[in-house]
């Protein structure tokens, strides 16, 4: 029937596979205009003047605007994790006097066709006085603006007595680690269409994703519109990964243009723009100190880290820094901890979240530390982890930290149990033996393993309106969003489980601000947990009513009724679900039987797992081949195991990309050198092995009705750490990996030294 736990195929797929998808670029309005953004070619400078005369003269050009034309629009505000001091670093929708990264919007051209817009945009000339750029987060602070340094803020978190820990330490480790600048690269680039709906006297933005409700409020505020006069509509979305769907300058610009010109205005990002304009992420530098006892147990950990924020602080404010600090200790007990994360402005594309934000980085740092401790103290790398893991009896475990504004409490976990299951599943002793034999025969091959704790199910709420028609069809309206991860299928499965209908009899509506008043959207691996809970609550509410009604109809005892196959049964007798629903609806005087439910929570739920990589290093080229990649991941309860595995596979591929291939590199004067797919190297099928997923359900969450934990990010989190460990193992300690990505050229230099 397609209830919870079944690997049913996706409800989303038929239109996508038939080419009937409606992605942003597929949305067309009669009379639409096309926007082209003119971007700064200079990393840091003062705008002297912008010459638009030639562009205005071009055929088809309707408008050319510069910063002066939008000066009254406030900068883009923060969606979450606002901390004092960041406000001055927000981005205007068009540069106001200064440019701070190559790719920053300085002007726009609106024309009848995209070709005309692009032709005219070439003729907009910005005269920019170049200033010295700041190109790393660890260099001395520069001036952002008069009275403002390039350090926007510092996030500090701590617990325990760190001084005592270092006093008691038998060994002290001091290490530095760096993670490269990556981004999530959705297959579909961004796009936004602003449409003035004259009939309804409202502004619409199509092409929304991720957080349509939040963006509706944010854009309405910026444009000084009452929120009810703006609606956002999500179509199909070709991947999000954290970066897509935030409010960016272009989203506001198309809305503003549609409002001013009273014509539809469409902007579709090209790939080069995407790599310059959409959020970057990662790019952290960590300096850690660890106090360790004689047995390798970590007594205290201190981390000072620097986040390369790029040119502005965007919607995520301190999110990545906050998550890095709050999640850094991971699955280990570590009685004392302090972290200070410096948010530093540089002259690169601004940064935000990307799948497992802060955890990919922090896990790399922490797990590399564990390997370093193991190696120096002569302890096995798996054993060192066992010695430090939080024991199962200490769960639920209050971490003593907060993350995303919630107290970090590991709600359900058996860290050692999962590790043991992974070891058994891959037969670790035999695997190590076979790798040793290959090394003895001359190959450079090794394995690495890294532990991670993820977070998921961020609140505070999710609402669902669930209705049942007389036909028995179920409609679920949610304020969640779909970035392609299978929201419709999963929500349908949850409803189907409760109501005993086929999941294919359920329709899921998401991402439409005119269908439901509030919505939190899709991020932080939250939808299955939060929306799933709300769906199950709404369905249970209706089920109670239906049960009572069916008992009357069937002249049967309500407690003995069974919901299955679209019927409500009492022994041999049954009534179709739709018929019972219609009877209830008639009572209510409504066409559909409807219930609303809201699930609220103050706490996230914490899935966890281990990545294991087997990797070969070529002796001549230093090329690295990931031969095997295993992800053991406890998700509490798997609504659709196939989709969970899909999340793991995709995450692992991106994790391998960040570990070995992907990196935004800049020249000393701030020119991006990785602004195309020829230079920003995504892993392809050739570089990613068939990922082996060991999905466990040993630690269901006690804090939501389904017991689920979010599965969106655990495929990527520990990939950098596990691969780095595998490279070291392959080269048998001849190199020490402290930086991602590990490129053949860098590995060669490490090996030479």
């Amino acid at each position: 029937m397609g209830g919870i736990g079944r690997s049913v195929t996706r409800l989303e797929d038929p239109p996508l596979l038939r080419g009937q998808g409606r992605f942003a670029a597929d949305i067309r309005f009669p009379g639409e205009l096309h926007m082209r953004v003119v971007r700064s070619p200079i990393a840091h400078g003062r705008i002297e003047q912008i010459d638009i005369a030639d562009a205005l003269d071009c055929p088809g050009v309707v408008a050319v605007w510069t910063g002066a034309d939008v000066a009254e629009i406030p900068p883009i505000d923060f969606r979450q994790m606002r901390i004092p001091g960041l406000g001055d670093y927000r981005q205007p929708i068009l540069a106001q006097g200064m440019v701070r990264y190559v790719g920053e919007p300085v002007a726009l051209v609106i024309a009848e066709t995209p070709y005309q817009a692009e032709d005219a945009a070439e003729l907009v000339f910005a005269d920019i006085e170049e200033l010295e750029p700041v190109m790393t987060a660890v260099q001395p602070l520069g001036e952002f603006a008069p009275g403002l340094t390039t350090e926007a803020g510092v996030v500090r978190k701590s617990y325990g007595d760190l001084a005592a820990a270092f006093e008691a330490a038998a060994h002290v480790f001091e290490l530095e680690f760096a993670i490269g600048r990556h981004t999530g690269v959705p297959m579909e680039t961004r796009g936004a269409i602003g449409f003035w709906n004259a009939e309804q006297e409202r502004l619409e933005m199509h092409g929304a994703s991720k957080v349509p409700h939040a963006n509706r409020l944010a854009i309405a505020k910026m444009l000084d519109l009452p929120p009810e006069q703006l609606h956002l509509f999500e179509g199909h979305v070709g991947g999000g990964f954290g970066i897509r769907g935030e409010v960016y300058p272009e989203d506001v610009l198309v809305c503003l243009a549609a409002l001013r010109l009273r014509r539809p205005v469409k902007w579709i990002e090209d790939r080069k723009e995407h790599l310059l304009a959409a959020n970057h992420s990662r790019d952290q530098h960590h300096r850690i100190r660890a106090a360790v006892d004689a047995q390798g147990v970590v007594l205290g950990l201190e981390d000072e880290f620097f986040v390369d924020q790029g040119g502005y602080v965007r919607t995520h404010a301190s999110t990545v820094t906050d998550l890095t600090a709050g999640m850094l200790p991971g699955p280990y007990h570590i009685p004392a901890f302090a972290a200070a994360g410096h948010i530093r402005l540089t002259n690169k594309t601004p940064a935000g979240t990307y799948r497992a934000p802060g955890r990919y980085e922090g896990t790399f740092v922490r797990e590399r530390l564990m390997d370093a401790i193991a190696d120096r103290l002569g302890i096995d790398r798996v054993e060192i982890r066992r010695r430090n893991l939080i024991p199962a009896e200490a769960i639920p475990f209050k971490r003593g930290l907060d993350a995303l504004g919630t107290e970090v409490v590991y709600d359900a976990a058996d860290f050692a149990g999962l590790l043991a299951k992974l070891e058994a599943s891959v037969d670790l002793p035999a695997l190590r033996e076979s790798l040793a034999a290959r090394r003895a025969a001359g190959e450079q091959v090794g394995l690495g393993l890294a532990y991670f704790v993820e977070k998921s199910g961020l609140g505070p709420f999710d609402d669902v309106i669930l209705s049942i028609a007389a036909t028995g069809r179920v409609e679920i309206v949610t304020g969640a969003a779909s970035v392609g991860q299978g929201v419709e299928t999963v929500m349908a499965q949850v409803a189907a489980s409760v109501l005993g209908v086929a999941h294919t009899d359920c329709t899921v509506v998401h991402g439409q601000t005119d269908r439901i008043a509030r919505g939190m959207g899709a991020f932080a691996s939250r939808v299955t947990v939060m929306t799933g809970a709300a769906v199950s609550m709404a369905a249970e509410t209706l089920k109670d009513r239906l049960r009572a009604r069916a008992a009357l109809l069937l002249q049967a005892d309500a407690t003995g009724l069974v919901f299955e196959g679209g019927l409500i049964r009492a022994g041999e007798a049954s009534v179709p679900l739709g018929e019972a629903a219609a009877a209830c609806a008639a009572e209510d005087g409504t066409p559909l039987l409807t219930a609303e439910a809201s699930f609220t929570t103050d706490h996230m739920t914490y899935p966890y797992g281990v990545h294991l990589a087997v990797l070969r290093v070529d002796a001549e080229t230093f090329g690295m081949v990931v031969e095997r990649f295993v992800v053991a991941f406890d998700v509490g309860r798997s609504v659709n195991p196939m989709l969970v595995e899909g999340q793991i596979h995709g995450g692992a591929a991106q994790g391998i990309g960040g570990a070995l291939f992907e990196e935004f590199i800049y020249s000393a004067d701030g020119q991006p050198l990785s602004a195309s797919f020829a230079d920003y190297l995504l892993p392809t099928l050739n570089e990613v092995p068939m990922v082996e997923a060991l999905v466990l359900e040993d630690a269901p969450s006690p804090i939501n009705p389904l017991g689920v934990k979010g599965a969106g990010e655990g495929g990527i989190t520990a990939a950098g750490a596990a691969i780095a460990a595998a490279v070291e193992d392959a080269l048998q300690g001849r190199v020490s990996i402290t930086r991602l990505p590990i490129t053949p050229g860098r590995l060669r230099i490490l090996h030479l030294n």
């Binding site: 070709y115 790939r271 001549e620 291939f661 590199i665 990785s674 020829a678 050739n686 053949p744 050229g745």
Partner: protein, 284 residues
Amino acid sequence: MKPAAFAYHRPESRAQALALLAEHGDEAKIISGGQSLVPAMNFRLARPPILIDINAIPGMDDIREEGGTLVIGARCRHAHFEKPVSSAPIGLLLSRVAANIAHTPIRSRGSFGGSLSHADPASEWCCVARGLEAELVAESTTGRRTIPAAAFFQTIFTTALRPDELLTEIRLPLFGPGWHCGFAEYARRAGDFALAMAVVACRVEGGVIREARVGLGGIASTPVTSPEAVAVLLGQAPSPALFLAAGQAGADATSPDGDIHASGEYRQDLVRAMIRRALTQAFA
């Protein structure tokens, strides 16, 4: 990422194409598979005012053998070489090379002559043409001439073709009995532009190498030959030690530039490895 405006011609005969070239010269650019040109136009790195599409001209993708020579029509797609086009050693070599060129969609469209005319220093076909001493046939309304590969590649994206000339044929040695050919390249991902590549052809007689050709790509502004590696090989019996020595000699004589993907020193190491591997493959 929309190209600047251009005029488009699709001649149906070679004569028409040459007449258009004669008329427009520098203003015109030939489009064959478009796998390099179209992206460059979309980035507006190239903005030819006139495109002359040669895809409707009959007979530009014939392959034939003439004496000891393989004659390749300039519009032959890369994918055409995935299975050996000749039973002579060149056929197997070209199939090994083709497997390294980009990805399937690009191989099905991109053409041999287009690659040579584009003259990307990291192009496999350019490396093969230079290393194996191909002859390139160029035609214009004023006649036909044959350009040795050594004179053809002038610098990055620049060839000896005149603005009114169309590359029509590539002539490669078939390599008869006694010849051994090999190719190797290293790229960070399958299908990427290689960081270094080597092509070799050696004729063995009486157990020793009597003739040898070694070409290198991806390491300079044009594909180059390696007389230093050749000198090591000549008169010697093939062996792993010899291959390594040839690689070392070849690498020592190069001074590649670095970029974000590989430093010059690293590329030099790769040259050594690729010569060694190409030789190993040739004699496997």
